[in-house]
Symmetry: C2
Subunit: 180 residues, 2 copies
């Protein structure tokens, strides 16, 4: 007994987020995440109910990490105005997605929302984050909407590699966006 199944599941999920982030659900064989996690493909299938079960669980892990980071960011702006707390949350999010895996996984998850289980996982993730932002920052609907709109803009900037494009239109889209 080298390790408990539950501990394995956690490490596999974190590597799954990174591996799925690169090429997405349909283009990444579970062999790839098994290899990255250092275990056999067969054991991944024993730990999770099929490739879809693995992906949905990875989505849960992804949004958990995002929610945790944003909550930690809010801590650091304790007692500030709604705008200040939102800023702190945005900075925490920017720091978190510097490695791109969590951001790209969200893009990949949104691309396979034609699978109902994935759509529900995405909704659950945004429900958790959005309700927290709204209640904890005491932000208005418009502020919350803007927070997520510019978050989604980051997805475009990163997937299209706009920070590498030295043209005026790309500079306009990336202006003031942290990190990416």
């Amino acid at each position: 007994m080298r390790s408990t199944a539950e501990a394995r599941r956690v490490t596999v999920l974190n590597t799954a987020v990174s591996v799925f982030a690169r090429a997405g659900f349909h283009a990444t064989p579970v062999t790839a995440v098994a290899a990255a996690a250092g275990i056999s493909e067969a054991y991944v299938f024993r730990l999770f109910s099929g490739k879809l079960g693995l992906f949905v669980a990875a989505a849960g892990a992804c949004f958990d990490r995002i929610a945790d980071a944003i909550e930690a960011g809010a801590e650091r702006a304790e007692g500030g105005s709604a705008a200040e707390i939102l800023d702190a949350m945005g900075d925490a999010y920017a720091d978190l997605i510097a490695d791109r895996d969590l951001l790209l996984f969200q893009v990949q998850a949104q691309a396979v929302t034609d699978i109902p289980e994935v759509a529900e996982a995405v909704r659950a993730g945004y429900r958790r984050v959005a309700t927290f932002v709204q209640s904890r920052a005491g932000a208005s609907d418009a502020q919350v909407q803007q927070f997520f709109a510019y978050g989604q803009l980051c997805h475009l900037i990163v997937t299209a590699g706009l920070e590498q494009v030295p043209e005026p239109w790309a500079r306009a889209l990336t202006a003031g966006i942290r990190h990416p």
Copy 2:
């Protein structure tokens, strides 16, 4: 000679946008777009250089239609302020993506930007649209950025089906967004 190859290419591309929009690049067999276009799979491979060539060409068609719609919208606000022209463009875009195919195809394209040819097609599409918005509306960088940020927010709303979610956080995210 039932039809010219060039005419076939056009019809195949439009059906390809719709078919790829649903399940994405890797999950849709070219048999599916061939069947939807009413021709054989083999002929699709003769008309385009592989599945990737088909997808990249479809991306071009998708952004062409978006750019055309936004240019037509700008026509209708001729002589207005930057904000008015941006509004007209936004309305035109909202009308266009009412059927969801063009919006979902963009999401799918962004999800496979790890393929360089796709990334370049996406950049080319946004380059055309963004430069037009910036020059034709005479909008500031911040206005252009906001225009695209809320456009990307639409992608989240549609893929996650947020307009069907009767909870406060979802209402906040969808507030004031037309159509979806």
